[in-house]
Symmetry: C2
């Protein structure tokens, strides 16, 4: 089968299509004929050799495809259309997936749309609910509102919690898109001071919850934007990994809860439970079309490197997908 692996060329890590044997499913795993895979920042980190936890030489942590092989007790059968997280191996014609992470694809979805669901919607769900404990009518600040996770989080916060959704993005086009998805307060971080806008929109109190993909650059501004006893979930470091001079008393006197999280390095059990909770709480809304995956661009598998560059340049609104269909 065709699969994409990392190759080092004159000091730069790039992506190459190669021929590899079809993987063999272990007990409890499905073999999937991959129709589409999606691109994630964790793939870029893995390509750069910095993730420290990727064990599969083939990149890619989420797919949509057709079940090729399944034990009966998994509840799936050959021919089923499924989407879900994989432990690497997604950028390929075939991949294995633990059956307890497979989600049946709604009939209306193409495989490209389905591939745009697992990672960003599970991450947004985990961040807002499993960790962030978002309650009805609370306020949430979502940075990078037009990103994959951002577009998922806006929809979940609006639909499941009728939350007040405050987003930041770097262009009017992206902000307009966020507004169409249901965002209430739109902040162009290039033109406005986001912490001032957040305080204005929350009667000076700050937000109950922050979804932070930015990290170091926004540290002090996030601390100014959060309510007393607020929750702050750190899920990305687009704005730098190292914060200089952190004042711990500020975290204490505001009684802030800061949680760092990543989805990829979590355990199999964690991902299975998260998938189950997500299917129960979110899939009914997807089937009704109230929540939808956002696909930015579909690249062919052979152009995986171009697809990653598109993400690195922040040109996407929603997900970047690789079409793998045979």
């Amino acid at each position: 089968m065709k699969a994409v692996i990392v190759e080092r060329q004159s000091n730069i890590n790039t992506l190459q299509v190669t021929e590899l044997p079809i993987p063999k499913p272990a007990s409890g795993e499905l073999l999937i004929n991959v129709q589409a895979a999606a691109v994630n920042r964790t793939d870029i980190v893995t390509r750069e050799g910095q993730s420290g936890y990727a064990t599969n030489p083939v990149l890619g942590v989420e797919i949509a495809g057709i079940v090729e092989q399944a034990e009966q007790e998994t509840g799936f059968a050959p021919g089923d259309r499924v989407m879900g997280l994989v432990n690497g191996g997604g950028y390929a014609e075939y991949a294995v997936m633990p059956a307890d992470r497979a989600i049946k694809i709604p009939a209306e979805y193409s495989f490209e749309q389905a591939a745009a669901v697992p990672e960003v919607f599970l991450t947004a769900y985990q961040t807002l609910y499993t960790i962030g404990r978002l309650q009805r009518h609370e306020s949430v600040l979502i940075h990078a509102g037009a990103s994959g996770v951002g577009t998922a989080a806006i929809q979940l916060a609006r639909t499941l919690s009728q939350a007040k959704v405050i987003v930041t993005a770097g262009s009017q086009k992206k902000l307009d898109f966020c507004k169409d998805l249901g965002a209430d307060v739109l902040i162009n971080y290039k033109e406005q001071s986001f912490e001032e806008e957040v305080l204005r929109a929350t009667d000076g109190k700050g937000v109950d919850l922050i979804l932070d993909f930015v990290g170091a650059d926004y540290w002090d501004k996030n601390l100014a934007s959060i309510k007393k006893e607020g929750r702050w979930v750190l899920i990305g470091i687009l704005g730098g990994v190292q914060v200089e001079k952190v004042n711990l008393f500020a975290l204490m006197s505001k009684c802030v809860q800061l949680t760092g999280t990543l989805l990829t390095p979590r355990s199999d059990e964690y991902k299975a439970k998260l998938t189950g909770d997500f299917v129960r709480d979110v899939m009914p809304h997807m089937k009704k079309g109230e929540i939808k995956p956002i696909v930015d661009t579909v690249f062919p598998l052979a152009e995986a490197m171009e697809a990653q560059r598109h993400m690195e340049e922040n040109r996407n609104i929603g997900k970047i997908v690789l079409g793998v269909g045979n």
Copy 2:
């Protein structure tokens, strides 16, 4: 009545006994004839003019005494022996206390012992359970094990959760005391590298929960000592307030939850609920003598400044109490 207030003398803030009118209880408050008050680090911060939230000119956030005046619907009556948190005003002959924070004193306790209960036991309970969600048989690292909160936390973690309790302290005398209270692993931070000892005691995995009173100096070592998906509660900054460099990816890849907390600036509702939970979960063990307050020294009210110095020099094991009895 006699009361202790802050006085500025040649650029140093010191404490002075003065005469003030007896405070008038508002609706829902008890007037207490104070028999003992205890000293807390928050009092020192207030004396230094740095707390930012103290509104009462009289210092002191916890007392034990005799109810002097109470509305019938509070469930208390004149003559009742009570202990609990007050919104300042503790270092005095009389103080007012919201009735939903008053805890009846077990018959066996002296007022000095009772004054040693509220702040440290409520803080330890809040930190271990309300925030830290300690589960049965989990492991917990308690820094400053011989401090007021440390001695309370060791007993709670052992008695309520049969947890593996790992403590740090700066002398053998303090460690021996922690051992007598039930600590399992004793680390002298002046002679041992605590993160190595923690990993050794937890099969290299790290602890489920850290109670951190130290802050900046221990930042990297705490991060090395915590288990993946562990909880880290920051409740003190004895080792400095400013961390020079924080690597956010480390928090993310370990999926750490860091919560800053202080008890004094929390709302009245929060303190009432915490007191209720504490009475339900902990007071039965106090009445049976399985958990006990630890009194280091009792100073007379007029020597409040000496009492605070004793704390600043870290000379105490357990609580420093002011005897106020008339």
